[in-house]
């Protein structure tokens, strides 16, 4: 029985330095066979820090009144809000009360140090894509002060690093197995941490099903528990247009599932951006074109290419090859002006990020091939292949967006069709076949061509199978899963990756339990040093992370048999 072994190990570790024996937070039980991997000690952080040492000296927390954060900067709103968040979560796990365990020194002060100059500490700003390691790095020391009293120090170069450090600090605190006693402990610890990749994201799709703002905020919260820093908001698609544009309100008035109800109006969008910012999370908006735009038909049918399904009449389908309308019409000037007005609003009045995601995926040619207008457009421009039409749109759209001052992320598709792009466009790899169509092949091609890349192919959390599916996410690595080692210049082109949750079968009823704790597996791949943990070892920490999230009110689903703690969820 793994449980008793585990308890024994922890008990031995603790009693080696203390008089009272205490046991772990984690309850992972395998009845028949011992589970593989080495159990982690309680208070193990997720994702794993770059450098983490702990010793067997333990301090205890005593009460809410006898615990305080002291920061050298008082006027940093992001920090002050975060201290409120972490104060509550660490101390109570929603249990409401803390009692000092006898026989242990009490940790009552946590010092937080960031540069005092706002230019350096970045308080008041929006988080950005920043390749420097220092941007989100932090240090934690839990140990005795010169007076021999336990204290904790968290120091960081920026507010974003401080937020990551606070999250880790909160995870170092663990609870006595006797839950009625409300004893909380922390081991003496040193951590030196910074992320492996600067772009660690989650894509949510709010077009196939609407997600209530409350649910999105809960996901943002849980993302921050896993040190993710990008919310990629696939906000519209063929099926619905919940985004409320001030320039073109008819888009959501006609395109939302329930106009006026299932929408994201400007204050709601700004509220979500702010909630994300306070957690060091960027919000990157995706307005996908020229495909995935069928919803525009409801208010602006003139924007779409009419397909000639019957060979004669515009706007006729030819099932199953194409529908009556599918893709934006690249032959009309109006299409470009409309998109310019929409994207101007999005870039200048909605998003706070430097990047816009332009989509560009899954442009199917059957409809364009049926259209005489496309044919004459090709003749006029001396195009011989339909992909040149796509290239035409892609280049104009991209240069328009760049003229607004925005930087662009696109799905990989234009590359697959041989479209040449500026090298500052970030390419997101999503396809995953075998051999020539494996993600590794696509990924390598993008790197060879000199593009900065994001990986998503192996992290499609909407695909469900039975069992411990988080393992396959954990075993996918942007570098180590490639057949050959990369030259250094190509390693630097990898910005990170994103998990994706396409929402055909997901809405507010199941989004949280579907995402967590599996998303944590992706988060650790993107944050922690390559190969820093075996999958079997990671399971123990992931289970603790799951239970920790459950204690914080996130409905994270189980990864194996067992339970978390007495009051887990009732």
């Amino acid at each position: 029985m793994q449980r008793s072994e585990f308890i024994l190990i922890v008990a031995v570790l603790i009693t080696a330095s203390c008089t009272t024996s205490v046991v772990g937070f984690l309850e992972q039980i395998a009845a028949r066979l011992p589970l593989p991997g080495t159990p982690s000690p309680p208070g193990s952080p997720w994702p794993l820090p770059r450098a983490w040492t702990r010793n067997l000296n333990v301090a205890t927390l005593s009460s809410k009144d006898n615990f305080q954060y002291i920061s050298n900067v008082n006027d940093c709103r992001e920090l002050n809000v975060a201290l409120g968040r972490y104060d509550y979560e660490i101390l109570t796990q929603k249990s409401g009360r803390v009692d000092a365990a006898s026989g242990f020194p009490i940790l009552s002060k946590v010092y937080i140090h960031i540069p005092e100059n706002a230019r350096q500490n970045l308080c008041g700003e929006f988080p950005k894509l920043n390749r420097s390691l220092a941007y989100e790095s932090y240090k934690i020391v839990v140990g005795n002060s010169s007076e021999g009293v336990p204290i904790a120090n968290i120091s960081a170069e920026t507010i974003w690093g401080a937020l990551r450090g606070l999250e880790t600090f909160s995870q170092l605190v663990w609870r006595d197995r006797d839950w009625s006693a409300n004893h909380y402990y922390i081991n003496f610890t040193e951590i030196n941490d910074s992320p492996r990749y600067p772009h660690r994201g989650l894509m949510l799709d709010t077009a196939r099903h609407y997600l209530a703002p409350r649910v999105i905020k809960q996901v943002l919260d849980a993302m921050s528990y896993n040190k993710l820093n990008v919310f990629h908001w696939h906000i519209i698609d063929d099926q619905s247009f919940p985004f409320v544009s001030r320039t073109f309100p008819e888009l959501s008035d006609k395109g939302a599932y329930i106009p006026g109800v299932l929408i994201y109006d400007p204050p709601t969008v700004q509220d979500i951006i702010e909630e994300a910012r306070l957690r060091g999370i960027r919000v990157v908006f995706e307005f996908d074109t020229p495909g995935h735009t069928l919803v525009f038909k409801k208010s602006h049918p003139e924007l779409l290419t009419p397909c000639y399904g019957d060979g004669v009449n515009p706007g006729t389908p030819d099932y199953p090859n194409h529908a009556a309308h599918e893709i934006l019409d690249p032959t009309k000037e109006n299409t470009y002006t409309f998109m310019k007005d929409l994207f101007t609003e999005v870039f200048h009045n909605v998003t706070k990020d430097e990047y816009l995601h332009l989509g560009m995926d899954e442009v199917y040619y059957a409809c364009w091939k049926s259209s005489p207008e496309i044919k004459s457009f090709m003749e006029k421009n001396n195009y011989t292949e339909v992909n040149q039409v796509q290239e035409h749109y892609t280049k104009r759209h991209l240069s328009m967006v760049q003229s607004l001052g925005a930087k662009a992320i696109i799905w990989q598709d234009p590359l697959d069709y041989g479209v040449q792009l500026d090298k500052d466009v970030i390419v997101q790899i999503w396809k995953s076949g075998t051999g020539e169509t494996s993600w590794q092949t696509y990924f390598q091609k993008a790197l060879d061509a000199g593009y900065s890349t994001l990986l998503s192919s192996c992290w499609y959390l909407n695909y469900i199978a039975y069992g411990e599916t988080w393992r396959q996410y954990y075993e996918c690595d942007p570098e180590l899963s490639l057949p050959k080692p990369l030259p250094d210049w190509q390693k630097e082109l990898i910005l990170g990756g994103e998990a994706a949750l396409w929402a055909e079968y997901v809405d507010a009823t199941n989004v949280v339990s579907r995402l967590f704790p599996y998303l944590g597996a992706v988060a650790e791949k993107l944050w922690s040093t390559a190969n820093s943990s075996s999958t079997d070892d990671a399971m123990w920490r992931l289970d603790e992370q799951r239970c920790r999230m459950l204690g914080r009110g996130i409905n994270a689903q189980p990864i194996f048999n067992g339970y978390c703690f007495p009051g887990e969820i009732f």
Binding site: K298, Y364, K431, E568, I569
Partner: protein, 542 residues
């Protein structure tokens, strides 16, 4: 454990592994808006006969509507009427929030449905007619048939629900509540002039929950019972204990849960919890059939009952691990007699599920006492040891005053154990091809069979012996965080195969009804996930 079922359940959620991420099923012509349009006022599962007399409809105003009991009295029905009144009242409520122009226009328009020639007036009373006696506990042979007439030629403008038993009335009330749908202005409920004549295809329609791999809170179990009733399931198959934990708090052997539950106080089902669950199920016409699986799947029993399990040996010594129940000891049967006597008293249903699946012989093979026992008994195969055990257990269970019957998983038969003829055999193994052969094998031997493998038999010679079946929710990766959205509305699908006529098997016809049903359950407050691709419900979950 019983991976076949698990995998099948998993498969339902595997969308595809292709090269196309946004469209779910690869390229297909798209629609702006939802993937399909839900029906309005179509019941799930589909009744055996549902006929609209004409284009007419009546309108129910929830504030004025009432049920009237006209036949025999029945406490259970009076409670059910209260329950359904509040469901009907809730059906008309529109989600609070900004009202869009289109909707506010229609609200202020003077009741458009009133001006139609098809409007046949208001239905303010539904007569509820119980013809037979009021039965207390749902049982194997209960009559669940009922009839509903709304605005029929013989009672124009009126409505009546008739059934022989209270069980039929419960099913009929559920159907009645599903026939109602909001009028286009969301002020009232509409109801077509309808005849429903309905009865189940199979008498045993179960949902299995496993509360051992993960503990499920009483709250979630009760929610699941509500959902079962709304899908006309009639058996809660409670796989209450297993290797991993023993949450059943026994009166006779309290140490079983004290040492075998995940947590001795919070992760147990007390006698009060169990009584509450049985009662909640009873008044919804749902039987609670407990499963205490043995001789395998019993590791958690050993914590509180140290001599019960077979000690496994390595190099001539016990190696500290344990296998199945030790069938060679008299003490084993003394324990089983007392324990199952308690179970027989606590659970009113005549049936107890005795398990008997996945007995691993490897530990028995190492134990010298088993070897000796086989020699004494002249056994050459380990299956005989299992048979011996099962036979003893069956004899014990049959000896109780409640005259219990029992269910076993198919291995008991596969291993050629001879059990008495009134045993019900639960088939769980196999793919679409092999389960049918297994089912045939079971009924050929004259046993009655239940099916949980997957799909439903179309062509079986001896249908009388196939009692039904139902979905199983093994809980290795399921607990209270995800049970409801994982199970529903998927469990609604076998519910229809088990209740409705065999020819109700067209998925295209079913999809829009399932969409309506999913939204109906969501609106009633259950966290039921999407079933049909992109779309929305009039009231969404937030």
């Amino acid at each position: 454990m019983r991976n076949c079922i698990l995998v099948l359940f998993g498969l339902l959620e595997v969308i595809y592994f292709g090269d196309c991420h946004h469209d779910g099923l690869g390229y297909k012509p798209k629609l702006a808006g939802p993937a399909l349009t839900a029906t309005a006022g179509q019941p799930w599962p589909k009744p055996q006969l549902l006929k609209n007399y004409n284009q007419g409809y009546v309108v129910v105003r929830p504030t004025l509507f009432r049920f009237e009991l006209v036949g025999n009295n029945c406490d259970m029905i009076e409670d059910a009427l209260k329950r359904y009144y509040s469901i009907i009242d809730g059906t008309v409520v529109v989600k609070a929030g900004p009202v869009n122009k289109a909707r506010s226009n229609s609200i202020h328009k003077a009741k458009p449905w009133k001006n139609s020639t098809n409007f046949r007036g208001y239905l303010d009373v539904l007569n509820i007619h119980l013809m037979g006696p009021c039965e207390t506990y749902p049982h194997e042979k209960m009559d669940e048939s009922y009839e509903i007439k709304i605005d029929s030629p013989d009672i124009p403008g009126k409505g009546i629900l008739v059934a022989t038993t209270n069980w039929g009335l419960l099913r009929g009330l559920e159907t009645f509540s599903q026939l109602l749908f909001p009028t286009e202005d969301f002020t009232s409920l509409q109801l077509r002039s309808t005849l429903v004549v309905d009865y189940p295809r199979f008498p045993f329609r179960s949902v299995l929950l496993d509360t051992s791999r993960h503990y499920l809170s009483k709250k979630v179990i009760l929610q699941n019972l509500d959902l079962m009733a709304m899908n006309k399931y009639n058996v809660f198959h409670w796989h209450i204990v297993d290797d991993q934990s023993f949450p059943y708090q026994s009166k006779t052997f309290p140490e079983l849960s004290e040492r075998g539950a995940y947590h001795p106080y919070t992760h147990v089902y007390t006698q009060k919890d169990i009584a509450d669950i049985i009662e909640y199920a009873r008044v919804r016409g749902i039987r609670v059939v407990p499963e205490f699986d043995s001789p395998g799947h019993t590791l958690s029993w050993g914590n509180g009952q140290p001599d019960l399990l077979t000690a496994c040996y390595k190099d001539g010594k016990p190696d500290g691990t344990f296998g199945p129940v030790d069938p060679t000891q008299e003490t084993t049967y003394d324990f089983l007699k007392l324990f199952f006597k308690e179970i027989s008293d606590v659970f009113p249903d005549k049936f107890i599920h005795l398990g008997g699946d996945e007995v691993d012989f490897s530990c028995w093979k190492t134990n010298p006492r088993i070897a000796e026992f086989m020699k004494e008994q002249n056994f050459t195969e380990y299956a005989k040891v299992e048979e011996y055990y099962m036979q003893q257990l069956v004899n014990i269970v049959q000896s109780f005053p409640n005259n219990n019957s029992y269910l076993v998983w198919q291995e008991v038969i596969d291993n050629n154990v001879t059990v008495s003829k009134d045993t019900i055999v639960h088939v769980w193994k196999g793919n679409e091809i092999s389960y049918e052969a297994e089912l045939l094998n079971v009924v050929k031997q004259g046993y009655r069979a239940l099916l949980s493998s997957c799909c439903f038999p179309g062509t079986l010679a001896d249908k009388q012996l196939v009692l039904g079946g139902g979905p199983a929710m093994w809980a290795e990766y399921v607990d209270s965080t995800n049970l409801i959205p994982r199970l529903w509305p998927r469990a609604a699908v076998p519910a229809e195969r088990l209740w409705s006529n065999a020819n109700v098997n067209n998925t295209h016809e079913a999809a829009p009804r399932l969409e309506e049903h999913r939204c109906r359950l969501l609106k009633r407050g259950f966290q039921v996930e999407p079933a049909n691709g992109p779309g929305y419900c009039p009231v969404s979950w937030d």
